[in-house]
Symmetry: C2
Subunit: 437 residues, 2 copies
Amino acid sequence: MSNVELNSVSESALSARCAARKLATLSEAQRQEIFSALANRLWNQRAEILKANARDCELLLIELKAGRTSQALFDRLQTSERGVSDMVAKVHAVAQLPDPIGKTLAITELDDNLTLRKVSCPLGVIGVVFESRPDVIPQVGALCLKSGNAVLLKGGKEATHTNELLVHIWRQVLAEFDDELVDVVSLLHTRHEVTEMLELSGLIDLIVPRGSKDFVTYVAAHSSIPVLGNAEGVCHIYVDQAANLEKAWDVSFDAKTNYPAACNAVETLLVHEEIAPKFLPEMIKRFHDARVAVRGCERTRTFSTANNVEETTDADWATEYSDLIIAVKVVTSFDEAVAHIDRHGSHHTEAIITEDPSTAQRFMELIDAAGVFHNASTRFADGFRYGLGAELGISTSKLHARGPVGLEGLTTYKYQLFGDGHTVSEYQARRRSKGAK
Amino acid sequence: MSNVELNSVSESALSARCAARKLATLSEAQRQEIFSALANRLWNQRAEILKANARDCELLLIELKAGRTSQALFDRLQTSERGVSDMVAKVHAVAQLPDPIGKTLAITELDDNLTLRKVSCPLGVIGVVFESRPDVIPQVGALCLKSGNAVLLKGGKEATHTNELLVHIWRQVLAEFDDELVDVVSLLHTRHEVTEMLELSGLIDLIVPRGSKDFVTYVAAHSSIPVLGNAEGVCHIYVDQAANLEKAWDVSFDAKTNYPAACNAVETLLVHEEIAPKFLPEMIKRFHDARVAVRGCERTRTFSTANNVEETTDADWATEYSDLIIAVKVVTSFDEAVAHIDRHGSHHTEAIITEDPSTAQRFMELIDAAGVFHNASTRFADGFRYGLGAELGISTSKLHARGPVGLEGLTTYKYQLFGDGHTVSEYQARRRSKGAK
């Protein structure tokens, strides 16, 4: 790893490009060999991994006790033998996905001996910036290896020892297979290096920021490199007048309480006025029983039997609470709900609860979001649940990859044209006698 | 059109969004009706179109005579009855393409009554900034109508009268079909409005700049909205040692001389030293006969019989001449050619001339460009030649759309999840008995 420390980020990126080019020449069987070696070595070195992780945890515990960090961050950092075994399982899982590279996506015979193929290929070099969770390195590294990309990783400083060892293991495995592959995975060490990386628009093909809204927004604003990620998830559930009450209660409850810190948790309930008197009193009660703070518009508050619904302000409609808080609004129509989502939503995931199929269909078509759900919890917006095998992140961008992104988001395509000395002038000259030589 | 002049750009963009949402609810048959009405009206108003165009041409002619503009710009501006008939033909051609919207791209049964569909859908609002050519409006307008998008157009001021009339025709046709559709096509009038548009990242989904390298670079640097375009095309042809000489001469000649101002014209020839003595003298002669200025490295110049090859400087390798000039370099190996392209290419289109299929295959895999061609002219990199029906532009970006971009580049996808009250908690609880209710 020492050469990474000595070199500038642009040199690391250049080395990564060369390594990616080498990687592109490997066969699927050769990449499988690397996957096996990696899984074995991760497991064989689990004692060292746990030791490095314990050292990081010790240091973070001091911060935690001093009130300078959160229990949540500490929990995400700490791993165990079970954690390492999960890492190994994830490496195997990615290895077993279908090869995303070299697939012929389209083929067109333009003329005799002139064939156009649209073929999937790697993006090149990916930059991933993430916080604590040590399982990011094996998973992202595996996704990049599978898709023929090199990766520059920058983790949080609280996980320094764990991350350095994990990247070291990766690089050892790569070096043993072929010296020229070692820079397929590299680690950056400082924030300054991240700033430098964001400027390398000719050398880095994609930046994946995983972290707070502020961080993702910062990255998008400071780089002309394409960014894959989501700044926020202000997800809505619209409870239509034709909703089944049980489904509406269950889905809304799940979407808020299953994992409130996730970006696919619901933040705002929109309730049609026709169903509000039947739906809201019980819903508010269920939320309160689960310690969810309910905030509501004026009409919502009239349905609270215990007078325990705080009044919403305009700011509530645009807020991702990431916590056990929910905002509730009574709407007079389907159109009002759609307009509210269009104005305040973050194009992440939006759900409708209704038994009316034509209303559902209109919602699915009109709402501009990566995920539009009918009678299902917003929490399903997840690469694992979508069956993608592994998830790089969730994208709220409309271009390239949208929603949960797996291997496909790490690929692009190129057009390969196979001719036999074909010129355009000759083609133009004979275009009136198409097909004639 | 008066409301566009009165409103700010963000208001135009908001109106465009509403119109796009309305457009999304039309059936394919309804959109076909609009296409027919548009084609008819364009043809019926050809006299007015030619009159408006004549007025623009008159004004530009003054500039041309004063030496303040180029003949090329004037030629691109001027249209004719044949030109209007081509516009009509293009509108019909786009109308007849397969519907790109609402296609199910993938479908996954996640569980009983839990179905995930990946469905193609419009991007939303597109901003297109272009120079003179009046046929851009009917073609881009048709592409947007077909793909369910609204568009804000800004043409060059030299085409003011032509563009205003064309957009007016569009808006009349849309208004006659449905008042709420009128803002599917709008015209911006000033440079200041373009600057304003580049800042509307929440309201505009894609910017398509068509113009000079400086302009495209400016747009990309000044907007956080995704940009589809190519700043430049520094395309190479590598003449391998195993090249067929006739093919190498013909393809190189075509790629340089067929239309030198195009971004897919070749700028640099890389010639393997083994074949240089046979290839270069005749190639240089053919270029000179066609008034192509040849610049060469030291070794290239030794193959010029007439001593008429100027010496290249480092700047030549990075220059898009867009003119009858070509740079030639003798290389000692395939690897040197690949490294040169990797360093100086613009990821647009790169070609190899060789009879060795394994060398060709390595080139097709190693070169990182939107188009990699074997024994064919770089001039084939074009939406029409690729069979895309109509071209929005050529993209050198790796994300979203790459190479010549047709209708597909104006679409994204959303995940539609159809459930029956499914919650993630319930799913987590029963995950060990997969499939059991």
